[in-house]
Subunit: 143 residues, 2 copies
Amino acid sequence: MSDQHLDLIERQVTDFIRRIILTEKQFNNLDRSAYILLRQLATYGPAGVKTLAQDLHLDISTVSRQASVLVDKKYVEKIPNPDDRRSYYYQITSIGSLELEENKQRRYDRLSGILEDWSEEDKERFGLLLKKYNETVNEKLDL
Amino acid sequence: MSDQHLDLIERQVTDFIRRIILTEKQFNNLDRSAYILLRQLATYGPAGVKTLAQDLHLDISTVSRQASVLVDKKYVEKIPNPDDRRSYYYQITSIGSLELEENKQRRYDRLSGILEDWSEEDKERFGLLLKKYNETVNEKLDL
DNA sequence: TTATATAGTTGTATAATACAACTATATTGG
DNA sequence: CCAATATAGTTGTATTATACAACTATATAA
C-alpha cells in the first residue's frame, strides 16, 4: 500500500494549495469566491442560488451572500423568475463580464510568468492531469 | 499569448483547490492548518514561531495561535530556548506523531481511493508536475 | 384548502488568516 | 556600559469564507 507516488502527491498538494491561496490575494482584485461564482455565471448562464450552490458544492446561504455582494457591485443582476415568485436568477452584467475578464487575464499573466520556462508538453500534461483528477473525484462522489 | 494550456490549468486549478478544501473537512481529524504545522515539525524538527512562520509563509501571530492549539492538545511541547529567553521551540510529542501518522494515513487512503484506476505512470507524473510547479514558484518568489 | 415542500434570506457560529499594539529580552553604538 | 534599537513572541481586533438553523414567502400535493 505504501505507495511512493501517493506520498509525493499528498505532500505536494498541500503545498500547492497553501501557496496559491496565500499569494493570490496579492494579485487579484476579485477574491477567490467572487471569481468562481462570476465565472460560473459567465460559463453556464443565469441561475438561482439553489442551482449555483449545487454546482459549486456550497451551502445555499453561502451563495446567497456571495451573490448579493456581486449585486451590490453591479457585477450581476438579480432577476425575479416570472414562473416562480420564490426564486430569482442571477445574470452577469457587462461590468461583471469586464471585471471577470480582467481578473482572468491577471491570473493568466501570473501563471504564464510562473510557467514561462516549462515546455508546452509539460504545461499540457499538467492541465490534463488536473482535469483528470477533478473528473475522477466527480465520478467517485456522484454515486 | 492566449495559451490554451494556461486556460486549462487556470480553470482546473480553481476547481481542484475548491473541491479539496471543501471535502477534506469530512475526512480528516486534524484540520488543514494543524496538519501542515505538525507535519512541518515532524519533517524539519523543532523550531520557534518565527522560523515556522517564514517556512510556512504565514504571519507570526497565526503560527503562534496554531502552535498553542497543538500545545493544548499535547501534540507538541513548548520548550524555552536556553540561549535566548525570548524564544521557544516547539517539538512534536509522541501523541502528536501518532495523530499525524493517523491523519496522513487517512489522507493516503482517501487519495488512494480516488486514484485507484490511474496508471502508476500518471500518478508519478502528477506528483512530479505538482512538485515542479511548487519548485518553480519558490524559485520565482525567492529572488 | 390545509399540510407540506421549496427558494431564498438572515442570524449566529467557527476557522484561518493578517495587522497593530504590546511585553520581554537581546544586541549594538556612542 | 548603558541607552537606543532590534527581535521573539503574544494578544486584541478585523476580515473572509464557510455552515447550520430559524425564518419568510410561495408553490404543490393530499
